[in-house]
């Protein structure tokens, strides 16, 4: 059992509440993700998982409370600041760019790298050309690492769903994140793809923290170090999968909604 890490967390939500008009989507939610840790955010449908996730990456601004990225020294980041702060996220579904090739989709993950200035690009200066060549090379290597290199020249619409998911992870990894946010990584994957994906995420733990939103319990339980359980916008439990599994509030929440 991995205990709570003593190092500075990569991401911390501190007393975050979110109201959408009359709907209290989140109430005083706090949790943190540390380096080398896989944290799962779970809860019944409508519990506020996606909202919490969207707050973490700046898509939704908290009504009160704050989001802190201590390592990057950023408080309440906007979406465009994430990549520079070392945070990458995947979108629900796959969220790829439909009209550019798989390789260029992965290259997009390196958009914030140096050497991409407007003037250098316009004039075709050597540093711009070198930066693009390096980016292309690294993107190809990333596809290779995830075992989907043969799809490099294809368009996202023409590749299998499981491959597209990997491509979206490849893109997220291109900015060398210290924190990876995965939005429902298991959805739409078959058994083989699931175990493949789980081992990929375990490998990533060596260099980064991972926060994932998921409702496939069979996928989440053996994978994560820690679980944060939301229900009706509040954290009802958090701890190791073993602790959470026997937590009364969790059992009640799930029995209350499941078929």
């Amino acid at each position: 059992m991995t205990g709570p890490s003593s190092t500075t967390p990569l991401l911390a939500l501190e007393g975050v509440s979110v109201r959408f008009g009359g709907l209290q989507a989140l109430r005083d939610v706090s949790f943190a993700v540390s380096p080398g840790e896989i944290v799962g955010l779970i809860g019944p449908n409508g519990a506020g998982k996606t909202t919490a996730f969207n707050v973490a990456c700046g898509f939704v601004r908290p009504t009160s409370g704050r989001v802190v990225l201590p390592a990057a020294g950023v408080i309440s980041p906007r979406a465009t600041q994430l990549a520079r702060a070392g945070v990458a996220r995947t979108l629900q579904g796959v969220g790829l760019f439909p009209h550019v090739t798989v390789l260029e989709n992965v290259m997009a993950g390196g958009q914030i790298r140096p050497g991409g200035g407007f003037v250098a690009g316009l004039l075709g200066l050597p540093r711009s050309v070198r930066a693009e060549r390096q980016l292309r090379h690294d993107a190809a290597a990333m596809l290779e690492r995830l075992g989907v290199a043969s799809f490099a020249a294809a368009l996202p619409g023409s590749i299998p769903y499981g491959v597209a998911k990997k491509v979206s992870v490849a893109r997220a990894l291109m900015c060398e994140p210290s924190l990876l946010l995965l939005d429902e990584p298991a959805s739409g994957l078959d058994e083989a793809e699931l175990s493949d994906f789980a081992s990929l995420i375990r490998d990533l733990r060596a260099t980064m923290g991972v926060l994932l939103v998921e409702h496939d319990m069979e996928f989440v339980m053996p994978l994560v170090d820690r679980l944060v359980v939301l229900d009706f916008g509040q954290v009802i439990a958090s701890g190791t999968p073993g602790e959470v599994r026997v937590h009364e509030a969790v059992i009640a929440a799930y029995l209350g909604v499941e078929e």
Binding site: C57, F59, A79, T80, L82, A83, R84, A88, R89, L91, G95, L96, F97, P98, H99, V100, E104, M107, A108, G109, Q111, I112, G115, G116, G117, F118, A120, G121, L122, L123, G124, S128, V129, A131, E132, R133, R171, C175
Partner: protein, 396 residues
């Protein structure tokens, strides 16, 4: 690999020699023949090198430069062989190709629509006219750069609201600019000449060192319009080269990402407002450069040229040529260059009264018809058709 390079170089050299001989035979001036012949010979070798995938991949900028020079050189050679009228059409069409490159970048890459690029052309055209009124001796390059910068500034200012407007609302704003442009010119009529526009104080002439290549006939109408066509073609070549760089650069990718999926684009660190303003500014700058060339070619600038219809024509040409592609913009420019001639030919051969209703609307009818056909049968334009055909042919 070395053998492939060797044999291709051999073929390239042989073709170059043939080209030199043809140029020499066709040319009326020996020095011109030598200059062009040498140019073609060097290009023959360069072009064969560029045809090798390894060279294309490892030296993209050199490749683009060589291709641009090849295109420019072929076009320049052409201008010595055709009539004065054709040459002024070539000059107009080459400038239009620049404008189309700009709109292609805006609409094809970043997915925004502009109905105001005719007015942005007008900004460049009037910048040249107003500047020449006060400083007649400014070098050509400086004048063109000034006009481009003026267009970029106006584009930047108008592009700022574009960061918050999408689709039809943005189109509406650019449309408003296109419609208001004539009125704006009238407000500043002491500078712009109001409805009658401006006449350049002196015709643009070739620098002495270049004029000497043209031989004794340098002052005739034929050579002066050839020279103007050459200016346009060379400037178009530079614009082409820069745009090809931009399409392939990080900035070009940012545009495609914004167009495809703006949420995901933000997540990889692309600032949507910045990307949209950059696209708008570049497109306006290119339009202004094209307009500046028009003023130089026509030796005058008139507000009626830069009305709303021009903006629509520009958009139609981009779609017909192939939106978001560089060859598409060139194709659009060529179509525009020869449309005036083709339309008067049609008027004559269909037996239409040149002053009649049908004849005066013929260009609108033809462009409209072509536009509809393109959208229905070839959404990626002529460039898309050619690419599709080429792929099928290669697969056999």
């Amino acid at each position: 690999m070395a053998r492939v390079v060797g044999s291709r170089l051999g073929v390239g050299l042989a073709l170059s020699v043939v080209a030199v001989v043809i140029v020499a035979l066709l040319s009326s001036s020996t020095r011109l023949a030598v200059a062009l012949g040498l140019g073609v010979a060097v290009l023959g070798v360069g072009a064969t090198l560029v045809s090798l995938p390894a060279v294309r991949r490892d030296h993209p900028v050199v490749t683009r430069a060589l291709i641009s020079v090849v295109v420019v050189d072929l076009a320049v050679v052409l201008t010595f062989r055709v009539s004065a009228t054709s040459n002024s059409n070539v000059a107009i069409g080459a400038a239009m190709a620049i404008v189309l490159l700009g709109l292609s970048f805006l609409t094809g890459s970043s997915g925004q629509i502009s109905l105001g690029n005719g007015a942005f052309m007008g900004v460049g055209a009037f910048t040249v006219g107003i500047w020449a009124d006060h400083h007649a001796t400014t070098p050509l390059v400086v004048v063109l750069v000034l006009a481009t910068v003026a267009g970029a500034l106006v584009g930047l200012v108008l592009g700022l609201p574009a960061t918050r407007l999408r689709g039809p609302y943005l189109a509406g704003m650019t449309l408003a600019f296109a419609v208001a442009f004539g009125a704006i010119l009238n407000v500043f009529s002491s500078w712009t000449g109001g409805d009658s526009g401006l006449q350049l104080p002196s015709a643009v002439v070739a620098p002495h060192w270049l004029a000497s290549y043209f031989g004794p006939g340098a002052s005739t109408l034929t050579t002066s319009s050839a020279w103007l066509a050459d200016i346009s073609i060379v400037v178009t070549g530079v614009a082409l080269f820069l745009m090809a760089n931009l399409f392939a650069s990080r900035t070009g990718r940012a545009m495609r990402l914004v167009r495809d999926n703006d949420v995901a684009a933000e997540l990889v660190g692309v600032s949507l407002p910045r990307a949209r303003v950059v696209a708008f500014t570049v497109s306006a700058a290119y339009a202004a450069l094209g307009g500046a060339l028009w003023t130089l070619v026509n030796n005058a600038v008139s507000p009626s040229t830069y009305g709303f219809v021009l903006s629509i024509t520009i958009l139609s040409l981009v779609v017909i040529g192939g939106i978001g592609t560089i060859p598409g913009a060139i194709i659009g420019g060529i179509i525009y260059a020869f449309s005036a001639g083709a339309i008067s030919w049609l008027t004559a051969h269909l037996g239409l009264n040149p002053q009649g209703n049908v004849a005066s609307q013929l260009d609108g009818i033809i462009f409209g018809g072509l536009l509809v056909l393109t959208i229905v049968f070839a959404p990626m334009g002529i460039a898309g058709l050619v690419r599709h055909g080429w792929r099928r042919w290669r697969r056999g």
